[in-house]
């Protein structure tokens, strides 16, 4: 640490993280509550000789960042729920064609236009299954600006390492709240640069032939290797194929390259989780309220703990199972109708010990509300 200190919004912390990670291309379309990300980057990116574009809609935005990524640029777009819905088809293209990119969704209330200026965490499952077809996906979140910064850097690193789109699921409170951010010095956080093929011109380059470790070295558009990129199932040259063994092989590859690396992709924090009789599981801004409850009740000797998830997809089932194993009560604190709840129930030894403490009225769930719900769950009344 010891870098520049700022007092800023979460959306700006995301911008700082993206620039630290080496963002070279941003395309977006205005939408509350994410717009500050575009505004800030319209000023900052040209200063670094990067590209900022305001496109005609969110579909064009995600398509443009995929195109830019193919030339070797680290690319990002930012939006909120309605725009994220529009991006789903192209998100699937990035999954299928294995194009690194980062998509920020600063969540607001939905469905539809919903609550444009209020928060929710209602897009967790849209991030997982919004695009059609079987696929694996990476979605990350954070609960404070220092973590927003570092998880944004992680998002770019994962995108490059796994050749995949990575979704950052923030929310309105996180995006607009102001707090302290200390920007790390250059080199303090590791950055993953794109793995590029070392094959010289004239040697047959197979853009979709994984190495032994499953990774696929890329070649920039405009470079010496010309190849095809398609959203169809494709062979090692990137040419369309309906051959069942090729189709199955690609489906397995796309799934396994993420699901087999859950440990590497898992980011989390824990507070008094080891001896917790009641374990809260939360993420994003609701984790702030959950943490407040835990700290407050611990001072009074209550065995309360918190597991804060920063990686939501792929879901860290083993981590959750392990941390929840000794807890009598597991309470998922989230601002939706129970989207992470289902994954937690699937992960733990006894699903019946898992309950939901949620709030879906567009306002942040407070520590008092969480505590009241806990008292009911624990059978101690409010």
């Amino acid at each position: 640490m010891g870098g520049q200190v700022k007092f800023i919004q979460g959306n700006e912390a995301c911008v700082e993280g993206a620039l630290y990670a080496g963002l070279g291309f941003f395309a977006g379309y205005p939408i509350t509550p994410s717009t500050e990300i575009a505004e800030l980057l319209s000023a900052r990116l040209p200063q670094k000789r990067g590209i900022f574009m305001q496109m005609e809609d969110e579909i064009a935005s995600i398509c443009a960042i995929i195109g830019a990524s193919l030339t070797g640029s680290k690319s990002m777009t930012a939006t909120s729920g309605p725009g994220f819905s529009l991006m789903q088809e192209a998100l699937g293209f990035a999954v299928m064609a294995e194009i690194p990119c980062v998509i920020v969704d600063v969540q607001r209330g939905g469905p539809s236009t919903g609550l444009a200026t209020k928060l929710s965490q209602g897009d967790v499952n849209q991030a997982r299954w919004g695009t059609h077809g079987d696929h694996a996906i990476v979605a990350l979140t954070a609960s404070n600006h220092q973590d927003v910064f570092s998880i944004t850097v992680d998002a770019f690193n994962f995108a490059e390492t796994y050749r995949t789109p990575v979704i950052l699921l923030f929310d309105e409170v996180l995006g607009h709240m102001r707090e302290r951010l200390e920007i790390p010095q250059p080199g303090e956080l590791p950055l993953v640069e794109r793995l590029k093929t070392a094959l010289p011109e004239g040697v047959d380059y197979h853009p979709y032939l994984p190495r032994e470790d499953g990774r696929l070295p890329m070649s920039d558009f405009g470079g010496v290797h010309r190849y095809n990129v398609t959203g169809l199932f494709h062979d090692m040259w990137g040419f369309p194929s309906e051959n069942p063994s090729i189709v199955y092989g690609l489906m397995r590859h796309l799934t396994d390259k993420i699901e087999h690396h859950v440990d590497d992709l898992t980011r989390y924090k824990e507070y008094y989780a080891d001896d917790a009789e009641t374990l809260l599981i939360s993420y994003g801004s609701s984790a702030r309220s959950a943490l407040h409850v835990v700290m407050n009740r611990r001072q009074r000797g209550e065995r309360l703990g918190l597991l804060e998830l920063q990686t939501l997809w792929p879901f860290p089932s083993e981590l959750v199972r392990e941390k929840a194993k000794n807890a009598r009560y597991v309470v998922v604190v989230e601002m939706n109708m129970g989207q992470v709840l289902q994954s937690v129930k699937s992960a733990v030894d006894r699903p019946d010990k898992v309950s939901l403490a949620n709030q879906v009225d567009g306002t942040l769930i407070t520590p008092t509300t969480i505590l009241n719900i806990l008292r009911i769950i624990q059978g101690r009344g409010v």
Partner: protein
Amino acid sequence: MGTREYIRERFFPHLWCPGCGHGIVLNGLLHAVENIGLKKNDIVMVSGIGCSARISGYLDFHTLHTIHGRALAFATGVKMSRPELTLLVPMGDGDALSIGGNHFIHACRRNIDITAIVMNNRVYGMTGGQYSPLSGYGTYATTAPYMNIDPDFDVVAVAKAAGATFVARSTTYHIKQLTDVLEAAILHKGFSVVEIMSQCPTYFGRKNKGGSASDMMEVFRTRTTPIASKEKAEDPSLIERGVFEDREAPEYCEEYHHIIERATKGR
């Protein structure tokens, strides 16, 4: 270098039907590229979805076969990142002007240096013959068994109105002109649109009693005319061919470069 050098022979035969006009467009395009003397490493071809979109897979350029209607948006990202590359975007009529209509008009408006090629066969061929926004009132299609009541619009007029700085039209019958206008479009600095009337004997022809591929091309010969010809004056229903717009205007990538200069001034 012959045009054969531009082809990925390993991926042939192509999937187009016998008599399809798209192969003629491909031929004209490759001759245009050869005439200009472009290097394969300097060309990025971006396409969407449909029969026309498959053109990209057959060519030994950097090729990006994307999703329906969005080719120009992907191409915009490539071009902005690497302005020195030549961007070719072949699209079908439905791809470019129905699902992709929004991206089309905004690419025209920005005047970004990309060549859009609209291979207009007035039908959705890949899905089996449904009407497109360019089929026109009174035509028949698998989704217009009683008659199509959707009016069409004029690609050239739309492109000009939206701000494209080079706009041309030709047909698969006029292979020399087709090659010439594509060459001029690629050389043009700014957003260029070339509409090429192409025949689909399999669907549009069959549904509209168009006859064989050569019958349909004969119609391109007899029902089109050079811009502002004597024939056009005598018969206004004739469709004009040629270059409708060719003007200079600030190109988007160059304008963005000025933004970088402003942003980095004094730094």
